[in-house]
Subunit: 611 residues, 2 copies
Amino acid sequence: MQLAPPSGTPDNVQDLPVRQYLEHLFERHSTNYSGQLASYIPELAAVDPDRFAIAFATTDGFVYAVGDVDAEFTIQSVSKAVIYALALEDHGPEEVLRKIGVEPSGDAFNSITFDDKNNRPFNPMVNAGAIAASALIRGTSHEERFERIIEFFQRFTGRKLALDDGVYRSESLTGNRNRAIAYLELNSGMIGGNVEEHLDLYFRQCSLLVTARDLALIGATLANGGVNPVTRKRAMSAANVRAVLSVMNTCGMYDYAGGWQFNIGLPAKSGVGGGITAVLPGQLGIGTFSPRLDAVGNSARGVAVCEDISRRFNLHLFEDRGSGLVPFRRMYRGDEVRSKRVRRQDQVKKLDRYGHLISIYELQGEFGFVEAERVTRRLIDDKATAYSFIVDLTRVLRMDAVATDLLNTARQTLQKAGKSFAIVSHSATLPETFGQDLHFPSIDRALEFYEERLLEQAGAELAVQKVPLEEFDIFQGLESRLLLELSRRMKPRRFSPGETLIVQNSRADELFFLTEGRVDVAVRTGNGPSHRVSTVEPGTIFGELAIFGAGPRTADVLGASDGTVMVLDRDALDDLDRHAPDVKAALVLAVGASLAERLRRANAEIRALSR
Amino acid sequence: MQLAPPSGTPDNVQDLPVRQYLEHLFERHSTNYSGQLASYIPELAAVDPDRFAIAFATTDGFVYAVGDVDAEFTIQSVSKAVIYALALEDHGPEEVLRKIGVEPSGDAFNSITFDDKNNRPFNPMVNAGAIAASALIRGTSHEERFERIIEFFQRFTGRKLALDDGVYRSESLTGNRNRAIAYLELNSGMIGGNVEEHLDLYFRQCSLLVTARDLALIGATLANGGVNPVTRKRAMSAANVRAVLSVMNTCGMYDYAGGWQFNIGLPAKSGVGGGITAVLPGQLGIGTFSPRLDAVGNSARGVAVCEDISRRFNLHLFEDRGSGLVPFRRMYRGDEVRSKRVRRQDQVKKLDRYGHLISIYELQGEFGFVEAERVTRRLIDDKATAYSFIVDLTRVLRMDAVATDLLNTARQTLQKAGKSFAIVSHSATLPETFGQDLHFPSIDRALEFYEERLLEQAGAELAVQKVPLEEFDIFQGLESRLLLELSRRMKPRRFSPGETLIVQNSRADELFFLTEGRVDVAVRTGNGPSHRVSTVEPGTIFGELAIFGAGPRTADVLGASDGTVMVLDRDALDDLDRHAPDVKAALVLAVGASLAERLRRANAEIRALSR
């Protein structure tokens, strides 16, 4: 089983349906020549206007890219999202919020107006806000600050980024409006320090050269809670991602914020270099590049392509996707599925009757509030009908603090009502807070524990650690003469916990009658460790292959306690064949009947597990 | 197994952790007295300022409500979201977009400015937009139009709503600014028809009396793609929900849009009556009521409570929730899990060797673009190593057109490469477009189909429909004298497809040797239909209980084709006991060995299924 999504590039990339669609989309939009190149500096006006690329990056690290995927262009205002992220990383959201607002201004991106009430730029997606963010970047020298910035950008792109020197110089030479904004901010005390250095950082970051793939990876890193899905390294904290996406969502697309939200519905940021980064949280980053801009200043093809993508693939944030909830993998009671303990008939009957008091919940997936809320509701619902609760977290990929807390609260409520609560988990994935609970490595072990408790309460003879041969289930109805013939050919053997009684793959030449103590049956596959498949109770037999002569041993058998087995070895069996064939026949019949019953139960369990 | 979330109210509502938290939250915020009552009409100024309620409604129809849950208040501007929804339902989004924009205006809610370029109100969340939306509501008379409005609101609340007459009259009497807005709209051609009637509808809808629970249900209906989760009736189309949430998200919270997005991050709408509706798409509607308003006009406690809720439960839209993807329930190959066909040794060995060419994918959950994208990637990845693809959709709760299309495209690509593709599904849930594929009701049937095909290609003797007794696996190594003794006591019996050979729960007194044709073993549980658990090939035995004398039959056995069984009945078995005990012993041994082998395989399958 593989719950983690597959990764790596298939050999036949061109066979992927999404890739085929993106190629189709590329063809269709290639003939859209609407819009104009940015012309406020000569370098942008000189760009090849027909360059065009589309890239998708998924949060499991797969990248689709079509068109001019290696074409580089200046990142321009897309950098505003990233520099804001770095300011948040450097100072935390409270401090940054004091310096830069989060309200859409309704004004142009290069507006010289401010949120006068709070003495700060309206938001980080206008120039005034991005300059203020640049001013917040830490570092002991100008160069170190820029090194920190470029290193931060590279965490998102996963590759080295270069500066377009021509664009940088032009921006710097002609950026007098930005200079005016910065000095007004200095004048009002919104920023401090060396204004020319802050501006230089701002101009440089806008002049970084990126590809559509880079923009898709910036988006995918934000979609992935701040972890670059290709390098698998954390670029920024998850908590700050939320803030960045929020301002992208309300302020990222210039004066098209409402229309973008309405038609495309993904947090996004565009730049006058022709790039757009869009984010489907949790899932996808999209990068597009086409340098012709529409009247608002967004890439004309980029907006059209994103609109097509969002519509075609139903990616709008508010698209009805249903609840997406599959928090329960399976739920069942202890009368439907049993532990792997092979029990005597009196115990089996008790469990048939009372097993429903054990309630098992196999959970799966990623757990936050909504998943945990549903599970707690179910647990509390079962308070009236179950005594023991087994919650299997083995397939829970992630559980946040909220979910842990809700489940813990429900657990405490159940415990106060006298219920018992067991967690099943590989300890590595277990949230620390569950450590105080009953904790088992498998559902089987938890089930066995509660079965024992149930049997104890139901007055089953649990204490019986010793069963004489004549009380064995399989010998019921057998003439005492036959049993005597059998038993006088058996040899008793004592065993200790962990002592090997049967070695897997060895020759099957002994049949065992467990009269005292317990043994574990464990299977080894390949070179792996052995897995317990059942525990055998006194009063039952094991090693049946010996009398059926059917190949080598299929499992190890080890002592689970101190105990005694009565052994019928090869010589004894041969002796029976020769001198008491009727005894042998009766034995074979009895063992065969027990095998038939066990096969019937195994098939029933296969059906239950396949539901 | 239960994949659908549980519904219904537990007996112990107070035990629910979320309920406990909401009570705690209620206590804490009860002492927050900040803000002022709306005072533009006397009725609002006369409201009890301390009223306070919080409600949660989940998309599976569970409602948490604490505080003054029955306190009614006027819905006011929360109605703007609902009337916009009805305008969309009446005219479709394109037509409505021509009449009402979707851009945040940056101006006050009662602003008298318009989007002059497009000759329309900026958005439906300002008065100008809501009046324009009211003007769009269809109906042949004024009263019918209002009836349609109130009926539409009631689909969301699931209960009858009354009008606060006092508020309605006051709003109507004093609403001269709204009157001015409406006449300006008429003057510019933004609206047509009877302005006073449109205004009257507007004033009335604002005066509808609701509770916090109603607001939570409005939110939950939007969260649930337009279906009221309590009544389970569709209130509006899923496509239009997207539009409503989009404008709520950008324009719903007056001049706190950016801060709300930043701090709370849920599409929401507030009203001066003190109500707020917030939506976590797919999961939850939140309704709060507290009439004191902050400087912007939002309920002061409501905003504070929503901030606490969003933070405490990580509900922000852009909270890092991981991908949430669990599209694969299990994946395995045909050498790991077998069909329920009981095969002869030569076939078993072939399947051990070639079974990995059959690749099985058990999918689960709700499928849209992201889930389907990952699955197509996996399918194409396996193109190089698998010949037959079995895709089980049984546990797919929903599959949208995008996912269907992506999977279909991948399927076609695989088919063009000579691969075979089978869908497993209960036909009712199967998207129509998959109808042309190989289609099976269970993985087992699909697996059996591909096993047969594989065996055919691997040159296994599939055509053998007849196996003489001496070639039976279980008789290999048996002396021919013993076999002769056995066979002369057997009686041949012909059977036809569907003919019953063994009836479940009847007495086990015949042992069957299948020499020609196939039989199905099927189990009935309770009063349900019987389920095939295996198909038996010629050359194998069934009905082993007869010789082990272990209780009634555990399954039905029916002919799966025309065929012949050789029958050893009770008389024959008794005769063997008396006159040829060595033959009986050899038979019992052979059958026991076969049972042991089958039990070993069953246990291995249980381990595979429990992974």
